[in-house]
Symmetry: T
Subunit: 69 residues, 12 copies
């Protein structure tokens, strides 16, 4: 049980609403093709500016999932 | 007055509601045993995923407090 | 069109309300003197603590804008 | 439109001719199985030496592509 | 021959016996779906503690394999 | 249950026998004053050399434990 | 003579032709408003991909110039 | 009061006398064009050697100042 | 003798006189509650500016001490 | 006695048996031309894979030795 | 065969013509005193500016060579 | 003239008097076997503590010198 192998994929999520929503969007999208996701870690927080305002937030994240279940 | 000495402790806060709440939870918990907290800095943002959704956000933070007051 | 030159300025925004508001405050202030802002990236998230609670969040960010438009 | 999710894959390209050709080789190869590539970033530049001369340049790069188109 | 393209995948291996066994477990598992693995590099060494003892060691590693053979 | 707060302490363990034993020694010593240890991560691996041989291995590690149980 | 003060500005140059041309474009553009530039250092190399090919290379660089001449 | 916006500029100070004097020289020079400086942080310490001796010390520093006062 | 366990604490010392004095102040203060200090390493050098001059230097340092003597 | 000068050399050791043996091999080889080695620190752990198994482990390490004895 | 020991030396090459030529110049010069060079990795890319143009590119690189052949 | 090749050696200097003296000691010692030193950069500042006081400061530095004069 302690000898799982995990794979980590790197994703970029974005949202006009905030950092958590950008994370949620990436996790939700990844869930369409990957099962058994276990954790994520944020590598970068960034975003685009249009007309002098934040247009959307972007989050680069690593998502780990179990390979052997 | 400019010659304070500070100590920095490393904590992990978590919350199912968001990044700021995870920070707040760690600061509030630290306040039970540490007085004179002055600042924090976020070292990592991460979290756990359950059933294809973010179960909770985790924030690793350094919290500085005055030693000599 | 693909040969733009951008300049990047480093700012610190702060807000008592949260991380996104701290980003927004910095972008809004920068917009008073800089036009054609395109993107930002968060370099540090930190903050001040007063009376055992987060008094305000601070975000150090790089903001990129077009030099040649 | 602002809420795309991207995936990032890490590749190593190489070329005896130079750094740009090593990047181009990796992008071209990736294009055989991945569509909608949008950007790359170089993580390392390295290479092999044979007989006292550079035999080929190698570039480790992250390539981002749209998941949701 | 000098112009191979490699892909790098990020894995987490674990073992209750030690760091090398955690590496070996990840490589062995990866070998079930990836051929032509060439090298690995360790990005993090970590682990879990239970009952005051190390329960298992975990190793985050990048594994490179040839795309074009 | 998802809203634990953890504290992280930084330790250096050493052993003449190897890297895992250096980790084990630090965890065992920490266990004398800290309960509820959950995980560790290795920050540096180093050591001393005497008479042209490795005299002992040293491992700098962060150890996380639950504050609120 | 040894007590100059320099200022460093961060720029992004781009070019469809290569990394050196992207550096040159940024330096040339900076020269329109800054005199006495002395050195540069490359912080990131990146670029955009269109139609499966590199559309342009981008280089993030710090440029140092003398303030006190 | 908690919602200031700061700008950070990167400078290199130098001095034949030592590290603190190099910091002081950069701060003093910056003070000619920037008001409301609040803090600095040292990013690199370096220097030049002539005739087998340190000719001058150089310090790369970020200086933060208030934009909104 | 080669199997000591050390603990590392993170402190911030400050002094209006210079970097070494800031280090000395932190070590001296730490000595009030910690015995058997063995080494330190400087993680950041920074400071505050008032009236266009350095008001005090600050040094963030890790201090290691023996746990098992 | 406290004013030694050390030189640091960077080596890569390898071994099919494990990480410690790769360190030992590098130290032993260095000992053929360098006396008074005092410490080492591991900068990278990596290795080669052949036939789906770890063929050998490689360790990049810095080794410090006294110049003035 | 898998148990080679390598030494890594750090060099700075420069060229007015470009990044690859700066790498080649360093490798060629190193070849005058070092045999059995195997690989290089670029640690920094920088350069000097004169009269508003790049005067030469500089590349800091680590070069690895076999010690035991 | 713009196509020099430099070699960089890594040294540790120490002094009971301060950081600059530790740098000076390393440069002076290096000058016994290396000519044409041009610059240095400080990689780490650290030190030893004895009897609750700083016993000596240590500075890890890279020193660059011309290979081709």
């Amino acid at each position: 049980m302690s000898e799982h192998v995990y794979k980590i994929v790197k994703l970029v999520g974005s949202s006009k609403d905030g950092v958590e929503q950008a994370i949620d969007n990436a996790i939700e999208k990844a869930g369409e093709s990957v099962r058994h996701m276990r954790w994520f870690e944020v590598e970068e927080t960034r975003g685009h500016v249009e007309g002098g305002k934040v247009a959307h937030y972007q989050v680069v994240l690593n998502v780990g999932f179990t390979l052997d279940e």
